[in-house]
C-alpha cells in the first residue's frame, strides 16, 4: 500500500520504511520556534539541540504593551545570546512567525516542523508537515524529537478555475462552511488537483493556515514552481519535495470546485458559519471596525487587493480601519509599491506587524455591541475583545469594501476584478 504526504514525511523522520494511520512514532524534527527559552534555563539545559534551527521572534504583543511583556523580552534576548540562537527577529525586522520564519529559510519541502502557535499549519504551503506544539517546543529544543500519532489523510481535490475576486481565504472558508470545522480533526489535509497551480504562495499559506480551523494536524500542498520560486535565495537548505503515492489510502476525498466561487464570509461566532457574500449583504450588517492583517491575510497581495477597493475612496466616517502587514518584509514591499500610501490616504490606520488585533491582545480590541469585519482566522465569541462583540471573517477585498460602505457589501460593487485595471506587482 502506498503512502500519503503525511505518512511519507513521518516515516522519513522516524527512520521507518513505512507508517500507518494510528501508529505512534517518535520523529526527528527539522525546526521549532523558541517559546519557553526560560523553561530551558530552569531545567538546567546547557546546550540546545540545534541553535540554527530554533527561530525566535515576538509577534503576539509586539512591541511590548506592558512592563511585564518588556521584561519577558529582556529575558528572551539574554537567552537568545546564551544559547547562541542565530535566528532572532528584533522589532523592525520581525513579523508574525508564520510569515517571517518562512521568509528566512525556516521551512523547505519535506520538512517536519513542530512549533508554538496553532496556526503553524501555515508552513504546509511549502510541501512540508508543519504543526503546532506550543507546550512541546521546550521538549524539542532539548531533544530535537517529538511524538506523533500518524494521522489519517484527507485528499482535498481543487478543481476548476478560481474567479479573480476570490483568493485562498474564500476557498478555505468554503470548505469550512460545507464540511464543518471538524472535517480535518486529528487528520492531515492534502491538497491536490488542477486548482493548486492557480494559487499564489500567499493563497496557499492562507488555506494551510486555516487548516487548523478545520481541525487538522497538517495541511500540506504539493511542491511546484511557485514553491521553489518563493524559496529562491531564502535558504541554503536543500528542498526534498514529497509527492503522495498513486495508491495512497485516504480516509476521505473532498472535492472543491473553484469555478463560480463567490466571496465567502464566516458569520459570528464560528469559522464554520459560512455564507456567500450575497446572503450576508441582505442582512445589512453595520460595522464599526475593519481589520486587515494577521498570518492569514497580511501579505503584500492582500494589501494590494484591499488597495484596489480603497484607492481614491475614504473609510466610512463611522468606521475605523486598521491594517497590519504580517511581516516587515511585507510592510516594506507594500510601502515601496505605494500600497501603504493608498491605504493611508483612505484614512486607514497603517500599523506594524503584530498578532494583536486578531486575538484581542492589543491594537484594536473591540467593545460591547461592536462589529468587526476582519481578514483573520477566528470569530469565536469574544475573540477580538468583548464577549458581546461580533466578528465576520472575509477576504481582504470584502474587508476593505465594508470599511468604505460602513456595512458588509459585495466588493465587486466597488471594483471590477475581471477587468482589473489597477495593477500592482504582487510577487513577494
Amino acid at each position: 500500500m502506498g503512502m500519503t504526504l503525511a505518512e511519507k514525511i513521518l516515516a522519513a523522520h522516524s527512520g521507518r520504511d513505512a507508517v500507518k494511520p494510528g501508529e505512534f512514532v517518535w520523529c526527528n524534527i527539522d525546526a521549532t520556534s523558541g517559546g519557553g527559552l526560560r523553561g530551558l534555563e530552569r531545567l538546567g539545559v546547557e546546550r540546545v539541540w540545534d541553535s540554527q534551527r530554533i527561530y525566535v521572534t515576538d509577534d503576539h504583543l509586539a512591541p511590548p504593551t506592558s512592563i511585564s511583556v518588556a521584561n519577558d523580552m529582556v529575558e528572551t534576548r539574554r537567552l537568545v545570546e546564551k544559547y547562541g540562537i542565530t535566528h532572532f527577529y528584533e522589532y523592525g525586522r520581525h513579523g508574525i512567525q508564520h510569515q517571517v520564519f518562512p521568509e528566512h529559510g525556516y521551512v523547505v519541502p519535506g520538512d517536519l516542523i513542530a512549533m508554538a502557535d496553532s496556526h503553524s499549519t501555515t508552513g504546509g504551503a511549502f510541501n512540508a508537515a508543519v504543526t503546532c506544539a506550543t507546550g512541546e517546543s521546550l521538549y524539542i529544543m532539548t531533544t530535537g524529537r517529538l511524538w506523533f500519532m500518524v494521522p489519517e489523510s484527507i485528499k482535498v481535490e481543487l478543481a476548476g478555475t478560481l474567479p479573480p475576486w476570490c483568493v485562498g481565504k474564500d476557498v478555505v472558508l468554503k470548505i469550512a462552511g460545507t464540511h464543518g470545522t471538524e472535517a480535518g480533526l486529528y487528520k492531515s489535509l492534502e491538497f491536490s488537483g488542477p486548482g493548486v497551480k492557480q494559487l499564489s504562495i500567499g493563497s496557499r499559506m492562507t488555506i494551510a493556515n486555516m487548516g487548523v480551523e478545520l481541525g487538522a494536524k497538517f495541511a500540506i500542498f504539493p511542491c511546484d514552481e511557485t514553491t521553489l520560486s518563493f524559496l529562491q535565495g531564502r535558504t541554503e537548505r536543500e528542498p526534498r519535495p514529497v509527492a503522495p503515492d498513486p495508491d495512497a489510502a485516504y480516509a476521505e476525498v473532498i472535492e472543491v470546485n473553484l469555478t463560480g466561487l463567490e466571496p465567502q464570509i464566516a458569520c459570528p461566532h464560528d469559522p464554520g458559519n459560512v455564507h456567500s457574500v450575497a446572503e450576508v449583504v441582505r442582512q445589512h450588517v453595520r460595522i464599526h471596525q475593519a481589520f486587515l492583517g494577521s498570518c492569514t491575510n497580511g501579505r503584500l497581495e492582500d494589501l494590494v487587493m484591499a488597495a484596489k477597493i480603497l484607492k481614491g475612496r475614504k473609510v466610512h466616517p463611522k468606521v475605523r480601519m486598521i491594517a497590519s502587514p504580517a511581516s516587515m518584509e511585507q510592510w516594506r514591499a507594500a510601502d515601496k509599491l505605494g500600497v501603504l500610501q493608498v491605504l493611508a490616504d483612505a484614512d486607514v490606520m497603517v500599523a506594524h506587524p503584530t498578532c494583536g488585533p486578531c486575538y484581542g491582545g492589543h491594537l484594536g480590541i473591540i467593545g460591547a455591541g461592536e462589529v468587526c469585519i476582519s481578514s483573520t482566522n477566528r470569530n469565536f465569541q469574544g475573540r477580538m475583545g468583548s464577549p458581546e462583540s461580533f466578528v465576520y471573517l472575509a477576504n481582504p477585498a470584502t474587508v476593505a469594501a465594508g470599511a468604505v460602505a460602513g456595512e458588509i457589501v459585495d466588493p465587486r460593487e466597488l471594483y471590477n476584478f475581471e477587468k482589473d485595471e489597477m495593477t500592482w506587482p504582487t510577487k513577494n
Binding site: W26, L43, G135, E136, E182, G360, Q381
Partner: protein, 172 residues
Amino acid sequence: MADEELIREGRVWLLGDNVSTDLMMPGEVMRLGGEGYRQCFRANRPGWVDQVREGDLIVGGRNFGCGSSRPAHLNLLRNGICGIVAESLGRVFFRNAINGSLAVLTCPGVSKAFDEGDTARVNFSTGVVQNLTKGISLQGIAFPADSPPMEILRIGGLMRLIEKELAKKSGE
C-alpha cells in the same frame, strides 16, 4: 506505576459543541497563564467560576477545545477540573492537556449520556465512562498503555518527561 489505572470521579458540567480555548482563556488575559482563571467561560457561562468545585469533571460536545494553542487547560485546572470527556477534542488542546497532566478522553455519545450535575466515573486508562447517577456505561477511545500520551499522563506531564530524559542523559 504502569499498571495503576487513571480514574477520576466527580460532578459533571455539560459544555456543548465547539467550545474554543478563547472561551476558556480570553486573549486579554492569555499571557497571565493560569492567573486569569477567573475569566474562564465568562462569555458562554457567566458565573461558572463561582459554581465549579475542586474535583468536578467536564463533559464536552464535539470539537471541545478548538482553536488557539494558548495554555487554556491551566484555567480549567485552576478552577478545579480534574478530567474531561468529550465527543471529540481539538487536537492542540488535547496535546496541551496531556502535557499539563489534565486527563482527557474522547468518547462518542458521551454528551447525550449525561445531564449537568450527574456523577461520572471515568477510567482514562481503559476508556470506560460511567454515569453513576443514571447507571449508564459507555466505551471511550483510550490510548494504549505504552503510547506516549499515556506515558506522559502517568508520569505527571511533559516537564516530568523532560526531567527524566535529562537525568538519563547526565547519567550516561
